[in-house]
C-alpha cells in the first residue's frame, strides 16, 4: 500500500504532463513539437543504431576523461594551495578571476591553440570545470576545524597520514559540492565544444538536425542530453551518499537537536 502510494506520487505528475503534451499535439499539427509517440519512435530510430558508436560514446568518453582529470587535478592542486598559507594568498585573486571567466569562452581559445582535436575538446572540459573543484578544495582545506587539527597534531599525525585521515575527509563535503558543479559544467562544455567546433559528436549532431529542420530528431537529441544529465546526477548522488555518509548523518543529528 505504501509502495503504491509512493509510486502514485512519483509518477502522477509526469503522467499528467505527458498526457497534456499528447492532448496538445495530437489535435492540431504542430511544427515545433512532435507527438509523444512520434518522439519515441524517432528516438529509437535516431540513436539506437550506428550513431551510438560514432557520436554518443566518443562524446561520453571525452566527457569522462575530462571530468575525471579535472577532479583529480583540482583536488591535488587544492590540497597543495589550501595547506600553504602564502601560496593561497598569492594565488587567490588569480584563481578568483579564472573561476569568474565563463567557461564556454575557452572553446574559441583552445580551438586556436590546439586546432580541433579530441585533445582540444578534453582540454576545454578540463580547463572549464577544474575551478569549482579547485576552489572548493582550497576552501575545505582552509576551513579544517582548529580543535580537530590540534588533536591530530598532539597524536603525531602528520604528512601523508594527516592528508588521508584529516584533510581529505574534512574537506570532503566541500569537494563534493565542487564536483557537482564540475559535472554540470563538464556536460555543458562537452556539448558546446562539439556545437562550436566539430564534425561529430552529440552537440554537432543535434545542431545539424536543427539546421536541417529535422524537428523530431532535434527533440530526440534534447531528450538524450537530458537523459545523460539525469544519469550523471544519479551516479553523483549515489557516490556522494556513499562517500559522505558520515556527513549526512551528522547533519541529521545536528538538525534534530
Amino acid at each position: 500500500m505504501r509502495i503504491a502510494k509512493g509510486l502514485l506520487y512519483a509518477l502522477g505528475l509526469p503522467a499528467l504532463l505527458v498526457l497534456a503534451w499528447w492532448a496538445g499535439t495530437t489535435g492540431a499539427k504542430n511544427f515545433f513539437v512532435p507527438t509523444p509517440g512520434a518522439l519515441v519512435s524517432t528516438f529509437t530510430d535516431t540513436w539506437f543504431g550506428n550513431r551510438i558508436l560514432t557520436d554518443v560514446l566518443p562524446s561520453l568518453g571525452r566527457l569522462f576523461v575530462g571530468v575525471l582529470s579535472a577532479i583529480i587535478l583540482g583536488i591535488l592542486a587544492g590540497l597543495l594551495i589550501g595547506s600553504v598559507r602564502w601560496l593561497r594568498a598569492l594565488t587567490e585573486p588569480v584563481l578568483e578571476f579564472f573561476r569568474a571567466v565563463p567557461p564556454p569562452v575557452l572553446v574559441p581559445v583552445l580551438m586556436l591553440l590546439m586546432c580541433i582535436t579530441d585533445g582540444m575538446k578534453v582540454a576545454v572540459i578540463i580547463s572549464g570545470c577544474i575551478w569549482p573543484v579547485l576552489l572548493n578544495t582550497i576552501e575545505g582545506v582552509r576551513a579544517i576545524d582548529g580543535v580537530l587539527s590540534d588533536s591530530a597534531r598532539t597524536y603525531g599525525i602528520s604528512g601523508w597520514a594527516r592528508v588521508r585521515y584529516l584533510v581529505l575527509p574534512s574537506a570532503g563535503p566541500q569537494v563534493m559540492a565542487g564536483v557537482r558543479q564540475c559535472l554540470s559544467i563538464g556536460l555543458i562544455l562537452m556539448v558546446i565544444s562539439e556545437m562550436f567546433a566539430s564534425s561529430s559528436g552529440l552537440g554537432f549532431t543535434i545542431v545539424q538536425f536543427q539546421r536541417s529542420f529535422a524537428v523530431p530528431e532535434m527533440w530526440s537529441g534534447i531528450v538524450i542530453l537530458g537523459l545523460i544529465g539525469v544519469a550523471m546526477s544519479l551516479i553523483f548522488q549515489f557516490t556522494e551518499r556513499h562517500i559522505l555518509r558520515w556527513y549526512h548523518g551528522l547533519r541529521e543529528v545536528e538538525n534534530a537537536a
Binding site: 506520487y9 512519483a10 509518477l11 505528475l13 509526469p14 504532463l17 515545433f32 602564502w86 594568498a89 598569492l90 594565488t91 587567490e92 585573486p93 588569480v94 578568483e96 578571476f97 579564472f98 573561476r99 569568474a100 571567466v101 565563463p102 567557461p103 564556454p104 569562452v105 572553446v107 574559441p108 581559445v109 580551438m111 586556436l112 591553440l113 576552501e139 566541500q174 559540492a177 558543479q181 554540470s184 559544467i185 556536460l187 555543458i188 556539448v191 558546446i192 556545437m195 562550436f196 552537440g203 543535434i206 545542431v207 538536425f209 536543427q210 524537428v215 532535434m218 527533440w219 537529441g221 534534447i222 542530453l225 537530458g226 545523460i228 544529465g229 539525469v230 550523471m232 546526477s233 538538525n255
Partner: protein, 255 residues
C-alpha cells in the same frame, strides 16, 4: 596587509608569465599574444561605443534572465515548499528536469527565436531557475518546528507566519541560490551569444576569433572574466548585507 601584497604579487606574476610565454616562443604569439598586447587591445576597446554596446547587451540579458528566474523560483518555491503534498508530487519531476543541461535547449531556442535576445533569456532562465528553486525548497523545509508552533500559539495567521517565520528562515538559502544563479546566468548569457549568435560579448568573441583579431578576442575574454569577478563580489556583498544577522548559521556546503 601582507596578504594583499602577496595577492598583487600573484597577479603580477601571472601577467609576467603570460607575457613571457609568447615572447620566449613557447606558444606562438599569433595563438597567444603577450599580456601587454591584450591589455593594449582592451584599452583600445574602452573608448568604442560598440564595445560598451556589447557589454550592456550581455548585462541586460543577464539581468532580465536572472530577475525572471528568481521571481519565478521564489513564488513557485514558496508555494511548493510549504505544502507537503505538492512537495511529494513534484519531487520526481524536479529531480528529472533539474539535471537536464540547459545547453540541450540551444537548438530549440534557435528554432523558436533565432538570434534574438529571447534565445539567451530562455537558456538563462532555465538554468538559473533551478539554482534558486532548489535552495528555496531547502529553506522552507528548514523552518524550525518550535518557531512555527510558537507563532501559531501566539495566533499569527498564515500570511504573518510566512512573513515572520518562513521567509526569514528561507532567506539565507534564497541568497545562496541567487548568488549561484547569478554566475550561472552569466555563463549561459555568454554561451548563448557565443554559440547561437545573439547580440553581446560572446558573439564579439566568436567574431574576433573568426576574423583573426586574436588580441581582441583575448581582451574580450578578459572583459567577461572581469564582469564575472564584479558580479561575484557584488553578490557576496549583497548576501553579507542581508544576512548580517545570522551569517554564521549557513555554511557554504549545500550548493
Amino acid at each position: 596587509m601582507s596578504k594583499k601584497v602577496l595577492g598583487i604579487a600573484g597577479i603580477l606574476g601571472f601577467l609576467l608569465t603570460w607575457e613571457l610565454i609568447p615572447r620566449l616562443g613557447i606558444i606562438e604569439a599569433r595563438f597567444l599574444p603577450p599580456a601587454s598586447d591584450v591589455i593594449a587591445a582592451l584599452a583600445g576597446y574602452v573608448p568604442l561605443t560598440a564595445f560598451w554596446g556589447a557589454v550592456s547587451e550581455t548585462l541586460l540579458a543577464w539581468f532580465l534572465g536572472l530577475t525572471a528566474a528568481v521571481a519565478l523560483a521564489v513564488v513557485l518555491g514558496f508555494v511548493v515548499g510549504s505544502s507537503p503534498f505538492l512537495r511529494r508530487c513534484t519531487n520526481s519531476t524536479v529531480e528529472f528536469l533539474r539535471p537536464i543541461p540547459s545547453v540541450a535547449l540551444i537548438p530549440l531556442a534557435v528554432l523558436l527565436f533565432g538570434v534574438k535576445i529571447q534565445s539567451s533569456l530562455m537558456l538563462i532562465i532555465y538554468a538559473s531557475f533551478w539554482q534558486v528553486f532548489i535552495q528555496v525548497l531547502y529553506g522552507v523545509a528548514d523552518v524550525d518546528n518550535v518557531a512555527m508552533q510558537t507563532a501559531r500559539s501566539y495566533g499569527l495567521k498564515t500570511a504573518a507566519r510566512v512573513r515572520h517565520v518562513v521567509f526569514p528562515t528561507a532567506l539565507p538559502y534564497l541568497m545562496t541560490g541567487v548568488r549561484l544563479a547569478a554566475s550561472v546566468a552569466l555563463i549561459l548569457a555568454i554561451t548563448a551569444e557565443l554559440v547561437i549568435g545573439s547580440p553581446g560579448l560572446g558573439r564579439e568573441i566568436a567574431l574576433a576569433q573568426s576574423g583573426g583579431a586574436i588580441s581582441g578576442m583575448y581582451a574580450l575574454i578578459l572583459t567577461t572574466g572581469l564582469i564575472g569577478v564584479v558580479i561575484n563580489l557584488l553578490m557576496r556583498l549583497v548576501e553579507r548585507r542581508t544576512l548580517s544577522w545570522h551569517s554564521s548559521i549557513r555554511s557554504e556546503v549545500i550548493v
